[in-house]
């Protein structure tokens, strides 16, 4: 179990982490979700020992890590830009950490082969890293991070530079891998879909603070405040004073009839977002999986399941 207690880090003029406390459970994946600049990368660097914290405590399996330098912490780290060593081939990149641990060549070679099989690149040992595709590079970076069997694996937006389908495939692979290896993972991202897809637990960060920590379903069902709801992708969020009223998109349904007009429609893969304006002037978004949908200008009836709606503070914490 990785425990962070009241971590604070500030740079010259800005506060990057403002009293962060978090727990990552052993064998589970914690995703840290937040916009850029919220401090999530700094959080990873503090855990890895690359950035000293001004105050607070980090414990791994109960041991305080304060005095342990980065190279003795036994954490794995993977960056968005993969950070492969350009002067070494694939095997040498993956074996780097093992070599640092003083393992024998034979052991390293065996382990490298095992990992290449694991990440789906068998036989790539002698390839130069520049000749790999973006996806392959990320797989090598992952294998390299996994090779020394880290106690915690830290990933900083590892899929950020990949395109759609590839990203989906890798996401699925990562999920399978994390489960199969029973890894303790801290995964940082700004993409809510990624956070939901991977995390047993999702922590939402804003301005150097954790505003909410919950299982994906709980988070979706009850965001901590209006800002979180919007960040998760909810569109029917209405501010009323210091409260926000949230109507989940699934609580809004569009049927043939009257009372509203469609003002916009956008397909997002398998779902369609419809924007409708009620005759009283209020606007809502509805999600539908239908293949034939009304277009802008069409008159429709809108039904809102008021029971699913809820009130949250506009700005928690």
């Amino acid at each position: 179990m990785l425990q962070l207690e009241d971590i604070r880090v500030s740079f010259d003029t800005t506060t990057a982490l403002d009293g962060v406390s978090l727990i990552a459970d052993t064998g589970r994946t914690l995703t840290v979700l937040g916009p850029s600049g919220c401090g999530k990368t700094t959080l990873l660097r503090v855990v890895a020992g690359l950035q000293p914290a001004d105050s607070g405590r980090i414990r791994l399996a109960g041991n305080d890590l304060a005095a342990t330098p980065a190279h003795r912490r036994g954490v794995g780290l993977m960056f968005q830009d993969n950070a492969l060593f350009p002067h070494r081939d694939v095997a040498s990149n993956i074996g780097f950490g093992l070599r640092m641990n003083g393992q024998t060549r034979a052991e390293i070679a065996r382990r490298v082969r095992e990992l290449l099989d694991l990440v789906g690149l068998p036989g790539a040992e002698r390839r130069a890293v520049q000749t790999l595709s973006g996806g392959e590079q990320q797989r090598v970076a992952l294998a390299r991070a996994l090779a020394p069997e880290p106690r915690v694996l830290l990933l900083d937006e590892p899929l950020g530079s990949l395109d759609g389908p590839l990203r989906e495939r890798l996401l699925a692979d990562l999920r399978g891998l994390f489960a199969a290896l029973r890894l303790t993972v801290v995964y940082v991202t700004h993409d809510a879909d990624e956070a939901f897809a991977l995390g047993h637990t999702v922590a939402v960060m804003r301005g150097g603070k954790v505003v909410q920590r919950a299982a994906p379903d709980d988070l979706w069902r009850r965001p901590a405040d209006g800002w979180v709801a919007r960040f998760l992708g909810m569109r029917n969020v209405r501010d009323q004073g210091d409260r926000s009223r949230v109507i989940p998109p699934e609580a809004v349904s569009v049927e043939p009839g009257d009372g509203a007009v469609v003002t916009g429609s956008e397909r997002r893969g398998s779902v369609v977002w419809l924007r409708v304006m009620l005759d009283d002037g209020s606007e809502f978004y509805a999600v539908t999986t239908a293949t034939h949908n009304p277009g802008p200008g069409d008159r429709v009836a809108v039904r809102i399941d008021e029971a699913a709606a809820f009130d949250v503070p506009k700005w928690a914490g």
Partner: protein, 530 residues
């Protein structure tokens, strides 16, 4: 392409390639051909090249350059670390100051070491090596530091999480990462030391000669045209070999590490780094400051006590020159201004040709040649080639700016070509799509974007022209001398007055140079690159 554009394009092509080519043909290729034709007309100088005397000169040239390079690296690397990786107050100032020695004229630095060292150590290998280190630390700091500051730190972070200790990270990552930059800096330093002239002539005494100095001696003292030509040939070959070897070394130095576009934020020193930083900065201040301070002190140390005597003497006639010494300031400024204008015109045309046209590739090599074909050869070639009517230009006023421009132009190209190349073609396309004509695109996009590097190039060209010595020493006449030549004339003559006058002129030259480069730097608010 429209027909009427055809003619303008041809004209532009002639201007871009033709003007630099014609200039280089007349003022570079022809003088070199003249040396070789007159010197080697009869037979190939195998005897000169295999003479033990020649071999001894070559050996000294090589080993002093090697040792100078090694010492420069040793002295420079701590400073590189301090200026590239550590954040401290005044870092910008330190970085700017470190570059200053590189633009100082060789004559000034050599004189500064004369002023600093006790008489028994003034001539010999030690002062030569010290002066070479003094100059070239700037090269190492600029080349390696610029590279180090932009290395992607995530590699080091990953290595740390994989269990690599700091020393291990330095060995396994930093050194391999810096290898291309170290190779480039070493090659440049080696080249500068290999072709060193002013430093050796002044600090070497009669005993020490590099190939460059030996060519000068043979050309001006023994009048052995054949041996001078033979050694010139050797020098040309050696420089070509150095350039070839260094670029293949750089190519083989391994995969380039990913570089950030901007400098990666340096971090504040921690733990042991703090005293180390302080020690490095103090040593650097001493190393750079002491010789220059000694020079200034010497210029005020008249036999009658501290005073302005030597400076006042600059206004009086001497028998070393046909004009009052201070007039050299005026001549130097005018020559350098003209030389800068020529070098910028030449360099800009060549850089555009290099970037735009495929035919410009060979021009790259040709433009860079004066850099390797030493200044002494150039000056000597001028004296040899332009000594008979109608090509007797030896006393023409413009000959000195021309030769200085030849020495400076390669640096201009080296700065401008990458700047031109770095202009994203999409900017031009965007402007064109928005309705700008080709000429307008040039004016609105290229010119503003190149203005800064152009200013940097102008400052450097001016400094090089001001300090040029190896070629000018052949051509500057006693009735209109340049500052370095005037300094050399006084330095050559014994006596406190002559030495003091030389020191005073050196201080003036140093001030003028730093002022010129500083102004260019201010105007362009960017540091000088190589």
């Amino acid at each position: 392409m429209l027909l009427k554009h055809k003619a303008t394009e041809t004209a532009a092509c002639i201007a871009l390639v033709g003007v630099p080519a014609a200039f280089l043909g007349l003022f570079f290729v022809y003088p070199l051909v003249a040396i070789f034709h007159r010197g080697l007309g009869s037979s190939f100088p195998t005897d000169v090249l295999t003479d033990p005397a020649t071999l001894r000169v070559v050996w000294f040239t090589v080993w002093q350059a090697l040792v100078s390079t090694a010492l420069t690296l040793v002295a420079g690397l701590p400073l590189v670390w301090a200026t590239a990786r550590v954040a401290f107050r005044g870092r910008g100032l330190v970085r700017a100051l470190v570059v200053v020695p590189f633009v100082l004229p060789t004559v000034v630095v050599a004189t500064a070491f004369l002023a600093l060292l006790p008489e028994s150590m003034q001539r010999g290998v030690v002062p030569i090596l010290l002066a070479h280190v003094f100059f070239n630390v700037a090269v190492v700091v600029r080349v390696v530091g610029g590279y180090w500051a932009r290395l992607d730190p995530s590699l080091w972070d990953v290595a740390a999480t994989l269990g690599a200790s700091p020393s291990r990270r330095f060995r396994e990552l930093t050194l391999p990462a810096l290898r291309p930059a170290l190779a480039a800096a070493s090659a440049l330093t080696f080249l500068f030391c290999f072709t060193s002239f002013g430093v050796i002539v002044i600090l070497g005494g009669p005993h020490f000669a590099t190939l460059e100095v030996d060519i000068y001696d043979l050309a001006t003292q023994s009048f052995d045209l054949r041996a001078a030509a033979a050694l010139s040939l050797l020098q040309l070959g050696a420089v070509a070999a150095i350039v070839a070897v260094s670029s293949s070394l750089e190519a083989r130095a391994g995969a380039r590490m990913p570089l950030a576009v901007e400098e990666v934020a340096a971090r504040r020193p921690r733990g042991w780094e703090r005293p180390a930083l302080a020690a490095i900065l103090d040593l650097a201040a001493l190393g750079f400051g002491l010789p220059l301070a000694a020079l200034v002190v010497r210029s005020f140390a008249t036999p009658a006590g501290a005073g302005l005597g030597f400076y006042r003497a600059l206004g009086h006639e001497t028998t070393a020159l046909l004009v009052e010494p201070w007039r050299a300031v005026e001549y130097s400024l005018v020559y350098a201004t003209a030389a800068t204008a020529i070098a910028l015109t030449l360099g800009t045309l060549a850089a555009i040709a290099l970037v735009q046209r495929r035919s410009g590739r060979w021009l790259d090599t040709v433009v860079m040649l004066p850099l390797g074909a030493s200044a002494v050869m150039l000056g000597y070639g001028f004296v040899i080639a332009f000594d008979t009517s109608p090509l007797d230009f030896r006393d023409a006023v413009w000959i000195i700016p021309v030769v200085q421009a030849l020495v400076a132009a390669p640096f201009v190209v080296r700065i401008l070509a990458p700047a031109l190349r770095a202009i994203d073609p999409r900017l031009r396309e965007a402007a064109a799509v928005l309705g700008a004509s080709p000429a307008r695109v040039r004016r609105e996009i290229d010119v503003p974007l190149v203005l800064r590097p152009l200013g940097v190039a102008a400052g450097l060209a001016f400094a090089i022209a001001l300090g040029e010595f190896g070629a000018t020493v052949f051509l500057a006449r006693s009735d209109r001398p340049t500052l370095p030549v005037a300094i050399f004339r006084f330095l050559e003559r014994p006596g406190a007055t002559n030495q003091g006058t030389a020191a005073a002129l050196c201080v003036v030259l140093m001030a003028v140079t730093v002022l010129a480069v500083g102004v260019a730097d201010r105007l362009t608010s960017r540091r000088i690159g190589l």
